[in-house]
């Protein structure tokens, strides 16, 4: 029997798969090894991220898994508040959530609630770093973590990300993000075992500012089921 992957690695991956959401902008074909070599189009996309502020979007996710006869669909809302707050709330079919805030991450699903330190877990920290990098528009850090491919056309742009980390590569083969203008429209994660997840974003709102009450409500690390 093939040995299953380590849970810690999987944690990083699940965060990656769950939260790589945002928006981008246009550009042209490129295979980038350093920030200096990045095309103007890629730089423009990342600059767009950097200027976007808070983001909220509806998502619909379709998973093609070897275990299942038919694709599995989920829906929910993803919210980002720079520089380091991120929440993904699934509303259908079940209720689950991932909340990242100030170096800690809370995982909540039907099996329970867990809060952990990101620093204590390399893959998780890598993922959140990576995600923050993308949403902050930190091109240099993005390139340090991924081999980046970039394409653009009249219809929009495409970002191909291939993890540089061996650890992540055991689980994730590649991530493809597609968008138009300042909107991320679709993201596809190809896993090393052949499974894939396609997330389509809609109703994308950018430039949001969250007040203290909203921040507490959306990005709370507390167990929502706790009395």
């Amino acid at each position: 029997m093939a040995r299953a992957p380590r849970p810690a690695l999987a944690l990083g991956l699940l965060l990656l798969a769950a939260t790589a959401s945002s928006r981008a902008q246009a550009g042209e074909d490129d295979a980038v090894a350093s920030a200096a070599a990045a095309s103007p189009g890629l730089r423009q996309v990342m600059a767009g991220f950097a200027a976007s502020g808070g983001v909220r979007a509806h998502f619909r996710e379709t998973k093609q898994l070897a275990l299942l006869d038919a694709p599995l669909e989920t829906e929910g809302v993803v919210v980002f508040s720079p520089p380091d707050r991120l929440a993904r709330h699934t509303t259908r079919p079940g209720s689950s959530a991932i909340v990242v805030r100030g170096g800690r991450v809370a995982l909540h699903d039907e099996t329970g609630h867990q809060v952990m330190e990101l620093d204590a877990d390399d893959p998780a920290r890598h993922f959140v770093d990576n995600l923050s990098v993308l949403l902050r528009g930190d091109l240099e850090a993005l390139i340090a973590r991924y081999r980046v491919g970039f394409q653009s056309s009249e219809a929009g742009w495409q970002l191909e990300l291939e993890p540089r980390s061996k650890v992540l590569r055991q689980l994730i083969e590649s991530i493809r993000a597609e968008g138009r203008g300042a909107a991320l429209l679709r993201m596809q994660v190809l896993e090393a075992n052949g499974d894939s997840t396609v997330t389509v974003y809609s109703d994308v709102e950018t430039g949001l500012e969250f007040d203290a009450a909203e921040t507490e409500r959306i990005f709370s690390l507390e167990d929502p089921a706790a009395p």
């Binding site: 810690a8 999987a10 898994l65 100030g102 952990m116 330190e117 893959p123």
Partner: protein, 779 residues
């Protein structure tokens, strides 16, 4: 060489020889078992007290908070402390490799560890409704954020058995908010570092050095962060520091007081050295006898024995004061001869009184009695036979001695003219006893004997609360001849205690069961799965109905047919990130104990009921155990004091052959002891075991006051000398013992308050005793 010089030389040589002999042979024991009651019931107490210095006690919790840099600071602190010679181990979280090794350790054994009640739960798990529920849960999880992991483990674990194992591990580890991350407090605001202590938490030198180094390391790392700590060693070091400070202060105060007293009264410090010679000789002789036995002498016996023999300081004071107040040129031996009968009676009755302690069921108390009963006669012999050789010719009393003597003569004359007043004094004591004794409250809680810094205790409590720590000193022992037997019993204990948690009798527990089950239980799980012939078809059918591809879960049924691993054994955990959990599986004497620590016990009786019928399973509350021991000691001490008082009374009756005089001589011991307790009752002060033992000192000293007061009536011309000797004795005792009342430590306070009150009450009674005993004596 004169006779006196020979006596001096022989005395000093003997003292030195006894001292050297004792020092070379001295083997001190500190085993608590020596102070346990004799009998079978002591076995469990002994086992439980063995765990006072348990792995839980040999642990510190460091909590770093105050900012996001806490995680890095905690990691650095943990790294720095790993190399410390007093640190046995450090745990600050599970890194990637640690998590991976846990996965390797447990995933292949998920079937063995499926259910704590496999005969009942595994068939239920494999029935349609539960299989459908599990299939839906798997579907939900695949739809959720953890799908990448779940999709990889699901073919080999469609029922989510590994999730159950992880949940148990997570719940069983202190201060862990995430199974895959570092140790953090329950509220997430503090990073947690756990330290294992290499030395006993009560090893002052080792622990004070470690605590200093922790503070120093953190000062270099922490910046504006906050470090809070919890550990038995901190409380122990703080208490010992406080006691040492007290002892230093009290020693200086006592020595200064006694020196000042001897300078004031005798105008001579050498007299102080002479005065302590009999007590030192008695102590040296008793120690020499004790070390000649094959069993080691206990430190507490030595300490309290020394205090009891300290009673003998009265004898040289009487000799020296009487001699100084005798006519000029009186030979010291003549001065001694005049009070020899009183000295002998006093010493004999005190020795017999102490000897009564030897009848105690408690070996430690019995040893104290024998120790003191050996030392007192030796001290008396030195006072009677050797001391005169150290004194010059009589006379030469200092003005203070004369004034004291004259003052007491005047007081006695005044009191003799008011006999009703003299009669009223013992009656007043009796009235105090009648009113106060029923109000007396005994305190057997061990915590009442120690005083710890409340700030430190609050910090300790906060840190333990942050990691949802168990209650120190409350646990269940599962005892068996071998580790597998202990684990089997522990499995059953866990089931019972989990039910107690459900029933609200217990807030929680920390058990080895979270990490390790007996082989028997693990094999029962495997057999339970194997006993289902159509397992593969059941799972496939139910899961396919929920949309899973048929044949996806062959790896699971294959793992049941041919398991990837043998059951998990204790040795498998050795060297793993969960190695510390094996601290709960301890070898005690010839047996093995699995220890389950408890949190929030509502009632000890409830836990005992929950364990009813499990042979070898014992609930232990160490405070309760120690409280029972203290109570036993206290009761035994009081019984032996009563017996000693009877013996003293009989000795006095035998000597005086006169009920009234014997009774009067007896009053300053027995009545004063009772009055002391009654005063505490009236003042609302509680009395503990140390206070009870201190009453023995009161009894021993009180008899001196009675004997000298009554015997003094046979030589009324010396009443001033007799009563002033008693005053000097009283003041000496106040300086030596009474200053202990200044301590911040309740145990020392208790010794001081009891002894000081007792001798003061005895002194106050003495003139009245003299007056009352004078009736019918020659003028």
């Amino acid at each position: 060489m004169t006779d006196d010089a020979r006596v001096r030389a022989v005395t000093l040589v003997l003292l030195v020889a006894l001292g050297l002999y004792s020092l070379t042979k001295l083997e001190l024991s500190h085993s608590i078992t020596h102070f346990l009651p004799a009998g079978e019931e002591s076995e469990l107490i002994e086992l439980s007290l063995d765990l006072v210095d348990s792995p839980l006690a040999r642990r510190m919790v460091l909590a770093v908070g105050g900012g996001p840099e806490r995680t890095q600071a905690a990691t650095q602190l943990a790294q720095a402390l790993r190399a410390h010679p007093q640190v046995a181990w450090v745990e600050a979280g599970l890194d990637r490799e640690a998590v991976a090794s846990l996965f390797d350790l447990y995933f292949d054994r998920r079937v063995y560890l499926a259910s704590a009640s496999p005969a009942l739960e595994v068939p239920r798990l494999l029935e349609s409704p539960e299989l459908e529920r599990r299939a839906q849960r798997l579907l939900d999880r695949l739809a959720g954020p953890s799908s990448t992991l779940v999709s990889r483990t699901a073919p080999a674990d469609p029922l989510g058995l590994f999730d159950g194992v992880l949940a148990r591990i997570r719940a069983g580890r202190p201060g862990l908010a995430g199974a895959d991350g570092g140790l953090v407090s329950r509220d997430g605001d503090f990073s947690i570092v756990l330290l294992g202590l290499r030395s006993s938490p009560f090893d002052f030198k080792a622990q004070s050095g470690l605590l200093r180094d922790i503070e120093r390391e953190f000062a270099g790392i922490g910046g504006d962060l906050v470090l809070e700590q919890s550990g038995v060693n901190r409380i122990a070091v703080a208490s010992e520091t406080s006691i040492r400070g007290d002892v230093d202060f009290i020693s200086v105060a006592a020595l200064s007081g006694v020196c000042a007293l001897f300078l004031l009264v005798f105008r001579s410090l050498p007299r102080l050295l002479i005065a302590i010679l009999p007590s030192m000789s008695g102590f040296a002789a008793a120690t020499a006898v004790a070390v000649s036995f094959p069993t080691p002498l206990h430190g507490i016996t030595l300490g309290f024995g020394f205090a009891l023999i300290g009673v003998a300081i009265d004898y040289p004071i009487h000799v020296m004061n009487h001699h100084a107040l005798s006519p000029a040129g009186t030979r010291a031996r003549d001065s001694v001869r005049r009070i020899r009968a009183s000295l002998l009676l006093s010493g004999a009755s005190t020795s017999f009184g102490f000897l009564a302690l030897a009848l105690s069921d408690f070996p430690g108390l019995s040893d104290m009695g024998i120790f003191a009963a050996v030392g007192i006669p030796v001290a008396l012999a030195v006072a009677v036979f050797s001391l005169p050789a150290f004194l010059g010719p009589g006379g030469g009393a200092t003005p203070v001695q004369r004034r004291l003597s004259d003052g007491f003569e005047a007081l006695v004359r005044w009191l003799a003219a008011r006999r009703r007043l003299a009669t009223a004094l013992p009656l007043a004591y009796a009235a105090i006893v009648a009113v106060g004794l029923p109000q007396l409250r005994w305190q057997d809680d061990p915590a009442s004997l120690m005083s710890a810094d409340p700030t430190l205790l609050a910090e300790d409590g906060r840190v333990r609360e942050r990691i949802v720590d168990v209650d120190p000193g409350r646990f269940v022992l599962s005892l068996a001849p071998d580790p597998e037997g202990a684990l089997r019993l522990n499995d059953q204990v866990h089931t019972r205690l989990a039910a107690a948690v459900e029933a609200g009798q217990l807030e929680g527990l920390r058990s080895l069961h979270s990490f390790l089950w007996s082989q028997q239980l693990q094999r029962e799980n495997l057999l339970a799965f194997r006993s289902v012939p159509d397992l593969d078809a059941r799972i496939d059918g139910t899961f396919a109905a929920r949309g899973f591809r048929a044949g996806s879960f062959g790896a699971f049924t294959q793992a049941i047919a041919t398991p990837e691993s043998e059951p998990l054994l204790p040795e498998d955990l050795a060297g793993s990130p969960l190695e510390r959990t094996l601290d709960s599986l301890a070898r005690i004497d010839e047996r093995w104990a699995a220890v389950t620590y408890l949190r929030g016990v509502r009632s000890g009786a409830g836990i005992r009921d929950a364990l009813a019928g499990l042979a070898g399973a014992h609930y232990v509350d160490q405070d309760e155990v120690i409280g029972q021991i203290y109570e036993g000691y206290r009761r035994s001490t009081l019984k032996m004091i009563a017996l000693g008082a009877v013996v003293i009374f009989l000795v006095l009756q035998l000597r005086y052959r006169d009920l009234r005089r014997g009774l009067l001589a007896f009053l300053p011991s027995a009545l004063v002891a009772l009055t002391t307790l009654s005063l505490f009752g009236l003042l609302g002060m509680t009395v503990n075991v140390v206070g009870a033992i201190s009453l023995v000192v009161v009894l021993g000293m009180g008899v001196d006051y009675g004997v000298f007061s009554v015997d003094g009536t046979t030589r009324p011309e010396q009443v001033g000398a007799t009563l002033s000797s008693l005053l000097i004795s009283c003041l000496t005792t106040l300086f030596v013992f009474g200053t202990l009342a200044l301590s911040e430590q309740p145990a020392l306070q208790s010794i001081g308050a009891t002894t000081a009150s007792g001798v003061l009450l005895a002194l106050l009674l003495s003139p009245a005793i003299f007056v009352l005993a004078s009736r019918g004596e020659r003028a």
